[in-house]
Each structure stands twice: as structure tokens, then as C-alpha cells.
Amino acid sequence: MIFQIILLIMLAYVVGFIYFGLYRNITARIQSRYGPSVYQSFYDSIKLFSKKNTVNFGWMFYLGPVIMATGAILTLVLIPIFSDSDFLRSVTSQGNLFVLLYLMVLGPLGNALAVGTGGNPFGVMGVVRGLTRLIGLELPFYIAVVGLIIAANSSDIVHIIDLQKTTGLNIINHPLLFIGAMISMVGFFGESPFDIPGAPQEVYSGPRTEFSGKFLALLMSQGSLFAFAKLVLIVDLFLGGADSLEMLILKTFAIFVTIIFIGVVYGRYKVEQAVDFLMKLPTLIAVLGLARVVWFG
């Protein structure tokens, strides 16, 4: 089991970084540039790890990124990666969707503590924007997840995956829920138009303002792990999971590319615009999907 966990983390690390490299490449191509190397994220992270000094504002500042990374890894191991496989099944069976929903916020909150300790007002502004954005951002996603749970009458992800084998994929059964969840996902990936918390031009890159060196590297690494975890979650919930590594990569990449395409073409919303928007159309779509599940499912 421990071996499997290490394997999983490494897989997620590699895949996550490569995805981010691809993301930067694809973005560049859309903007008619060449773009950096696919492995640029590796370079960045190794460079940051090997920085010769790092600012540290105290122990809470030190622990913040660690908590965030812990949250990401815990999220990762609690999501079933493969359907029809015993891979880490004994671990994933200990949690369920609600645990995941809240674990996804635990990391950012731990990081927010570190940002607060840093004492940079811009960092805190970024955190507050992030948390405010969360009010709107989680709404469509929650509705989608709740809809799926009610449809499957279980908050166990494995059960939801299994159910899709008999009833068909959820993306087809519940397209409205899928749209809602995807719009939220754009925000969860920090993409435009919901990327206000870390806007460099306004709040000095927000929560990450004071982080440097190994802390920044750790944050980047957990970001890629976390991104992978979120992609797998979407695949599990809507695309019926993946029974092999190829399918996993294919499906997650499909989702990822969709998110990139949405993100690249939009400008940035102000935080209140973002929340207002999220509480209108995406929420409405998701609620319609939910109503369909509750009343006609």
C-alpha cells in the first residue's frame, strides 16, 4: 500500500507537471508564440528548490505550505484512480465525496494561515479574494456533486463509478451538472476569468507574494498534484473513471484541455463580478440539473 501511494504521488507529480507544461505550450500557441519547454515546470521547481536562501516569517509560515501539500496528497490518495482495480481501494474506501469536498479547502486554508503570518497585506488581500470567490465558486460544483450523490444514492465515489457502467456516463445522463462542475473547475484551476486572487497586477501575486525558494517550490508541486487529483475526480464522477493508465491520461487530458480553452479566451473578472456571474448562470444550470435528478431521476 505504501508503495502504491508513493507510485501514485510520483505519477501525479509527473503528469501534473507535464500537464502544466502543456498548458503553457498550448496557451503560447493560442497566442501565436512558441512557448516554453514542456518540462519548464520541472526546471522552475528544481531551481526554486535549489535557491540559496528563503525568507521565513516564523513557524506558521513554514507549516502553511506543508499543510497545503498534505491536504493535496490526502485528497489524491482518497480519490479512486482506477475503476475495476484494487489499486489503493482499501485507502479510498475510508473516505467519501464529502470528505474530499472539505479536504480540497483544507490546504488553501492552511496556506492562508501562512500568508497571514507573513504579514504582507497584499497576500492577505489575495487570500480574502480567494475565499470570497470560493463563495460563488463552490456553488455550482457543490450542486453538481450533490446531484450525483442523490442520483447514485451514495457518496462513495467507487459506487458512483460502478453505477455508470450500467446506467451510462454521467456526462450524458446529467449534462447540466457536468457543465456546472466544469465552470467551477475553471475557477479551481485558477484560470481566467476567475483568477483574481493571485492577480499580479493588482495584489502583487496575492497569496504567494512572500513565498520564495523551497516554499514556492512546494506550493507549485502540490499545485500539480492537486490539479491531477481534481482532474481524476471529475473523470471519476462524470466520465465513469478509467480502467487503465492510458484511459486515465486521455480522459484527464481531455478535461484539462477543455479547461485551458475556456481559460485562455476570457479576461479576468473582478471578484464581485465572478461571484455574481457564478451565482447566476452556472448555478441556474446546475440547479436545473439537480431538479432533474431529484424530481425525475
Partner: protein
Amino acid sequence: MESGFYGSSLDDSLKCKFEESGLENTHKIMEKAVNWFRSRSIFVVAYGTGCGAIEMPPTFTSRYDAERMGVIGVATPRQADLIILSGYLAYKTLRRVIRTYEQMQRPRYIMTLGSCPINGGMYWDSYNTIKKLDDYIPVDVAVTGCMPRPEAVIDGFVLLQKRIKNGEKAGWEKYDENFEFYKDNQKRVLGGHIDPSYETDWYNLKSGGKA
């Protein structure tokens, strides 16, 4: 201020390990690898002084795309490896530049654009600009031209990458070694407006209050 030795990092800690186990060659390879990675990933904080600021957007956007070389802009000095000063520096600006530079994490580099930071350029007799930036903070790469075109700036990046890759002694090491020299020079132009040196540490008042 930030005096003292800041030599230890991933490679340094590994260096000890390797030296203990008699694997100095391996360490040298590691160091080379790390230097290569450093050269491939340069985070830039672009300090737009003077007229050179206008040259930076094309450098980083579609037309010249510095990102393909791993050079990418960031917002805060904490994350940056390189600061680009794009023109003449008034005394007031110098103060901020020094502060920004000192907040960057080692290894850190400085790149200047145009002739003004080298010798004052057309501001050679101005009462409020500095003439030779290298006297106050160590410049690693100075790109000439008035103003240098993006191609020249990219050439500067390439030069810098080459030097990092080769592990040449960089400006930040000089700054740490000759700290008093630089500070004296800074004090001479800035007079009483030099930034505080933060001797009292609020967080450690319990233990004497010294940083």
C-alpha cells in the same frame, strides 16, 4: 543588514553529503545540473525605469516570446531571480531598486538596459540621477543601446544564461563580499534617506530583540 554567508542550498547540503561519502565528482555533476536548471528558468521582475520599459512588453509577448527560453515575468522580488532596470535611475528610484534587490533571494542577478545605468548617458550632468549603477549594486549584464531592441535584450538573457550555466561568479556574491563598499556608496548618494536596517526584531523581543 543582510551580511554573512548565504552559501548553503540544495547543492550545498548535498555537497556535504557527497564530501562525507567521498563523491566529490558526483557533486560537481550535481552542481552543473543545478546550474543548468537555474539557467533554464529565470524569473524576472521588470523594474520599468526610464524609456526602456517600453521594450519589455514586446520582449515577453508573442513577437519575441522570451518565455521559450524559460524567462518569465513575476510580480514580486521574493520569487524573482533577475531584476531588469530599463533606464536611468534617479536617487529616489535607486532607493527602491536597492530595496527590491535586497528582497530577492540568492542567487539573484541584475540586468540593465541602455547606456544611462552604465555612465549616465544623456543624463550625465543631471543633479539627481546616478551615473554608474555598478557602484551601488552589482550589475551582471548591461545591454547597450538607446534603447536596446528586444533582440538585444534576448541576447542579454542568453549571455546571462550562459554565465549561470558555467557557474561564473555573479554579482550577488560580490555584493555579499563587498557589502560595506556598496553600502558606503549608497549612503553617499542617498544621504539620510537610506532604508532602515531592521536591527530590532519584533518577533524576538523576548530573546533580546536582536535579529
